[in-house]
């Protein structure tokens, strides 16, 4: 797997190992979730980010513990990357009582306020204004927090994207907008439905922002732009818009085999898989293979443990069906 030609990693050893671990945790959990979907254990739908882990890992490594994450229905990676445990995530996908959301949200809505993961949003574009609001709140409270908002290339064509960018710039809100350009808007190539070649970067100038494009499969490059943009936001210099070029190895959702994509395109991107590429760099910088193998092994064990825990968990009962509509814990709409 290791390529002798790899450029040595630039980040320090601890950061490098942390980002490698995060990417592997995302990859192995999602890979297992997909298998369990076909076993019928994961219900509903799932949108996997296999191939896109470097964006989540690079940003998570650059964020402060109390910085906010806002992500999409393709949000498993971003949720795990902030340190949310695997077992409740998997249990939520199984529809179990011990799920992260008690079985009320599902794969598309993973949230862990405790970890500053302020939600996975499944209506395209909605969370850009919401992330802006969290950033405005941080600015008003002078908390120094930054909101990081991840979304897909397809989002750049919906109104909320433009409303949020404009208002964020006007308000100098501490928010970083991160477009994960995985080349496809659901089943359609993004270029076929977008007026400009670079769906996010080419819109940046309309809001007075720099056009920032990063190789989203290069976790160190992502870490670098994340560090710069987050520092800028924290310093009170306003928002950034970043376009990270990446690719999903699978289809849009569990029902989609992704056959509309040319084989050579898929093969070319899979050859640029962010995880083996970064492993090679770490090795080239002197990290021993054994340390990386140990992370792989430990991650496999964590996934197995989480799966066993989620499998053993009960389904939610009628007692919780009508709870948590209101802050009093109930759902009464009349007396």
């Amino acid at each position: 797997m290791a390529q002798t030609t790899a450029t040595p990693a630039r980040v320090d050893r601890d950061t490098g190992l942390a980002m490698y671990r995060t990417m592997q945790e995302c990859r192995l959990l999602e890979t297992r979730a997909q298998e369990l979907f076909f076993e019928g254990l994961v219900r509903g739908t799932t949108h996997l980010g296999i191939g896109q882990e470097a964006v989540a890992a690079g940003f998570a490594a650059a964020m402060r513990a109390d910085d906010y994450t806002f992500c999409t229905y393709r949000g498993h990676n971003h949720t795990l990357a902030r340190g949310v445990p695997m077992a409740p995530v998997l249990a939520e996908l199984f529809g179990r009582a011990t799920g992260l959301l008690g079985g009320k949200g599902g794969s598309m809505h993973l949230t862990s306020v405790e970890h500053s993961v302020m939600g996975s949003y499944a209506i395209v574009g909605a969370h850009l204004p919401i992330a802006l609001g969290a950033a405005w709140s941080a600015q008003y409270r002078k908390s120094g927090q930054v909101a990081v908002c991840f979304f897909g290339d397809g989002t750049t064509n919906i109104g909320a994207f433009h409303e949020a960018l404009n208002m964020a710039v006007v308000w100098k809100a501490p928010v970083v907008f991160v477009c994960e350009n995985n080349q496809y808007m659901e089943y359609t190539p993004i270029g076929a439905v977008t007026a400009v070649a670079r769906p996010a970067a080419d819109r940046a100038s309309a809001y007075g922002l720099d056009d920032i494009v990063v190789d989203g499969n290069d976790v160190e490059a992502v870490y670098d732009v994340a560090t710069t943009a987050i520092a800028r936001a924290r310093a009170g210099d306003g928002p950034s818009l970043i376009e990270a070029l990446t690719y999903r190895h699978g289809g849009h959702s569990r029902a989609d085999p992704g056959t509309y994509r040319p084989d050579d395109e898929v093969a070319a991107w899979k050859a640029r898989d962010p995880i083996p590429a970064f492993r090679a760099r770490l090795e080239a910088s002197g990290v021993e293979a054994g340390a990386l193998d140990a992370i792989d092994e430990a991650t496999r064990a964590k996934v197995a443990e989480a799966e066993a825990e989620a499998r053993a968990a009960p389904e939610p009962g009628a007692d919780v069906l009508e709870t948590q509509v209101w802050a009093d814990g109930g759902s009464a709409w009349r007396n």
Partner: protein, 328 residues
């Protein structure tokens, strides 16, 4: 007691809460330096400054979305939608995001926010600036909905809405902005979810909301004076949570129920009340329940047509009189 207009009561309610809680902030189009297109927020910008009273672009999704993001991270935002019709522009934020966030996260998130909006007919603005949207929001689990009918309730219920830990939609009726009424001095808070009997009567119950309350009261006076019919009038004030017991208590006494609704016919709040009374108060009834509503049409702009569309004092009097005659 001070006499205030409904319009001034809105600013007074917001100011009262901004004074006592530094996490209360106000955003919306023209709400700051301009004081609001209806002058509903006049003076707040000068008093509380641009950090707490923020003008926004014409971006309803960003306004409502930003309020949501701020509410989940420690603020109590009050966002203004200039006209309630504009809820349609930001419907995803209201229905899919704000209303569902707490349930979908199993209680991880609280959203103490208020969406205020100028609602209802009377200014001849036509179909896209005159609607009554309380039924739209009432139908969505997770939203509280209030529609005050007088200055005292306006100030007190707006204060209660701002203090409430859940999202509250406050419908401010355009036709009432200039109406004057008594507002108690000092801190004034009117709890949500409590209807009030604004006229005690024995023969029929008339349930009304917002601008239909003064019309129902005027109709009740005429029914009494001209026909000897003694009507009890209930100001519903809050749609969610609904004070069902107040309605059931009144119907148990009068045995006859009329609702007066400004909204188009289908799916109006009165239908929910009629359904509820049919289920739980049926044996109290002496006659069919009757809903007096706007026809199921968009609102026209011409004064003559708008007046024909929205329930009038004359229509309320005539309907109640006719239905009682029918029953005799």
């Amino acid at each position: 007691m001070a006499e205030l207009t409904y319009r001034a009561a809105i600013a007074a309610g917001i100011a009262q809460e901004m004074d006592r809680d530094p996490t209360v902030v106000l955003i919306g189009e023209d709400v700051g330096a301009a004081g609001g297109v209806f002058k509903l927020t006049e003076g707040l910008f000068d008093r509380f400054g641009p950090d707490r009273v923020r003008d926004t672009p014409i971006s309803e999704q960003a306004i409502v979305g930003a309020a949501m993001g701020a509410a989940m991270t420690g603020l109590r935002p009050v966002a203004e939608l200039m006209f309630s019709d504009f809820f349609a522009v930001t419907w995803d934020m209201v229905v899919n995001q704000i209303a569902k966030a707490r349930y979908m996260t199993d209680g991880q998130m609280s959203l103490p926010l208020v969406l205020r909006t100028a609602n209802g007919a009377g200014l001849r603005f036509g179909a896209q600036h005159s609607q009554s949207i309380e039924n739209w929001v009432m139908a969505i689990p997770g939203l509280k909905v209030v529609a005050p009918s007088n200055p005292g309730d306006m100030k007190g219920m707006l204060a209660a809405a701002i203090r409430d830990p859940d999202p509250v939609i406050v419908c401010e009726h355009k036709a009432l902005f200039a109406e004057k009424g008594e507002v108690p001095d000092g801190e004034h808070v009117v709890p949500l979810g409590q209807a009030t009997v604004v006229r005690v009567g024995a023969d029929v119950t008339i349930v009304a909301l917002a601008a239909m309350v003064p019309r129902a009261l005027a109709a009740a006076d005429r029914l009494d004076a001209e026909h000897g019919i003694d009507a009890e009038v209930i100001d519903l004030r809050t749609l969610i949570p609904l004070d069902a017991q107040a309605i059931l208590r009144s119907v148990a006494k009068t045995s006859r129920l009329f609702t007066v609704e400004e909204n188009p016919r289908v799916g109006g709040w009165g239908a929910e009340i009629v359904s509820l009374v049919a289920d739980e108060g049926f044996y109290s009834l002496d006659a069919p329940m009757v809903r007096i509503t706007t026809p199921h049409i968009p609102l026209p702009s011409a004064a003559a047509l708008e007046d024909l569309a929205v329930p009038s004092v004359e229509r309320i009097v005539a309907t109640v009189k006719r239905r009682l005659d029918d029953a005799r």
